[in-house]
């Protein structure tokens, strides 16, 4: 799977302070050829939307372990639209219960990943979803 020429923002909204997963995904996406920008911890959805637009990314990967993923995804989608980045795809990764996948997808997420998935599969799925665009 090649992500050559794709730009992806990896972002940590909300209050949890664990970004090992986010960094591993960032490296895997880089190794697949993407240009990856990482925001650092505890960023607001508004800030993430602004960075996504300024960096002209194809996708935003939100890493959320705090449990408030549904609200955070909804807010990020809204702020992205306001910042004229409505075409930027959103992926969500973290500790996401199965019953929350559906609400996340209807809120505007293009893909939802959890920690039990193989990293190669996550990268491949991101590539597939970006190629559809």
């Amino acid at each position: 799977m090649s992500l050559a020429g794709k730009r992806i923002l990896i972002a940590k909204p909300g209050l949890d302070g664990h970004d090992v997963g986010a960094k591993i995904i960032a490296l895997a996406l880089r190794d697949a050829g993407a240009e990856v920008i990482y925001t650092g911890l505890r960023k607001s959805p508004q800030y993430i939307a602004r960075v996504a637009v300024e960096e002209d990314v194809d996708a935003v990967g939100l890493s959320i372990l705090s449990g408030s993923h549904v609200d955070l995804v909804r807010d990020t989608v809204r702020h992205l639209r306001e910042a004229q980045g409505g075409n930027i795809k959103i992926f969500v990764g973290g500790t996401i219960p199965q019953e929350d996948v559906e609400p996340l997808m209807t809120s505007g997420a293009a893909g939802v990943f959890n920690a039990s998935q193989r990293i190669e599969d996550v990268v491949a799925e991101v590539g597939r979803l970006l190629d559809d665009a």
Binding site: R30, D31, G33, A34, E35, Y47, R50, E55
Partner: protein, 303 residues
């Protein structure tokens, strides 16, 4: 201090500039020649920050830009990070050190990958800076990893070059070897709260005393700056102001334009040359060198 709305971008302008930068960063030499951004008159004041990886460029730029924005100055930042030579992918990590500044409405901040460029810049960097300038920022900041040729490219593209060095490394000697001290208009010893910083400053100051810049009448200041404690930031801003005044008095706009145009042409020709060379096959290299040389020259002429 300028307190205008110049360089304060709304959502539409932000989106447009972001897309234009992407377009230029991907554009081939030919396509950029067809639709090159026209240089702005008067151009923004351009400041370049360079130095080895980990020296603290992004942290310092982030802090400085935050201060400038608070004074009402609009700033466009272009940060260039290296690409992996294996996957061509990149982690563009400069933003993470600039998060205070990069939420400010007066700031536009963009990271780009050096991709396959030879000099540590990104493709069409001269055009990207022009495109940013067209949005009327008061200042443009260019941040690059110092890798040999990058310093010379920075020199051609900006008005003031700030070179960062760390305390307690072999950098003073390395700098003498590579000759990178000559391109600096201002030298900053970063992390100056660390042990070893005063000695580093001393060594650097005694080195630049005999440097090339002295011949043109500018004395290169060697400043200790600690973003951690805030010490030295006022001095750095004062030095930037002093150098801007020196540039205004000693360099004509025509000289600056000529230097930038020269870099732009060189960059485009070198990329065409790279294309020609990578089109050669192993079998081609069995031919005599003189023949290959002729063929490459002819290839350049055809486009």
């Amino acid at each position: 201090m300028p307190e205008s709305q110049a360089g304060v971008l709304d959502a539409t302008a932000r989106r447009e500039l972001a897309r234009e930068i992407s377009r230029l960063a991907r554009a081939s030499a030919q396509s950029v020649l067809r639709a090159a951004p026209v240089p702005m008159v008067p151009p923004a004041r351009r400041i370049g920050f360079t130095g080895p990886p980990g020296v603290g460029k992004s942290t310092l730029v982030g802090k400085l830009v935050e201060r400038r924005a608070a004074q009402g100055v609009s700033v466009g930042v272009l940060a260039i990070d290296p690409a992996s030579p294996y996957s061509k992918g990149a982690i563009l990590g400069d933003r993470i050190r600039m998060d205070q500044a990069s939420g400010d409405p007066r700031v536009f901040m963009r990271s780009v990958s050096s991709r396959d460029s030879q000099d540590g810049m990104c493709n069409n960097v001269a055009d990207i800076l022009c495109a940013m300038e067209a949005h009327h920022f008061d200042e443009l900041v260019l941040e690059t990893v110092g890798v040999g040729q990058a310093e010379h490219a920075v020199k051609a593209l900006v008005d003031t070059v700030v070179l960062l060095m760390q305390p307690e490394t072999g950098d003073a000697i390395q700098a003498l070897k590579a000759g990178i001290l000559e391109v600096a208009d201002i030298i900053v010893v970063s992390k100056s709260d660390l042990h070893g910083a005063p000695k580093m400053r001393e060594v650097l100051a005694s080195t630049v005393r005999f440097g090339a810049q002295r011949a043109v009448g500018w004395t290169v200041p060697v400043l200790g700056v600690s973003v951690e404690t805030g010490k030295g930031l006022d001095e750095l801003e004062a030095a930037l102001t002093a150098h801007a005044a020196w540039v205004a008095a000693n360099r004509t706009a025509a000289e600056t334009q000529a230097r930038r145009a020269c870099y732009r042409v060189q960059d485009l020709v070198l990329r065409r040359l790279d294309d020609q060379l990578s089109a050669l096959s192993p079998a081609d290299y069995e031919r005599p060198v003189a023949e290959l040389y002729q063929r490459v020259l002819e290839g350049l002429r055809q486009t």
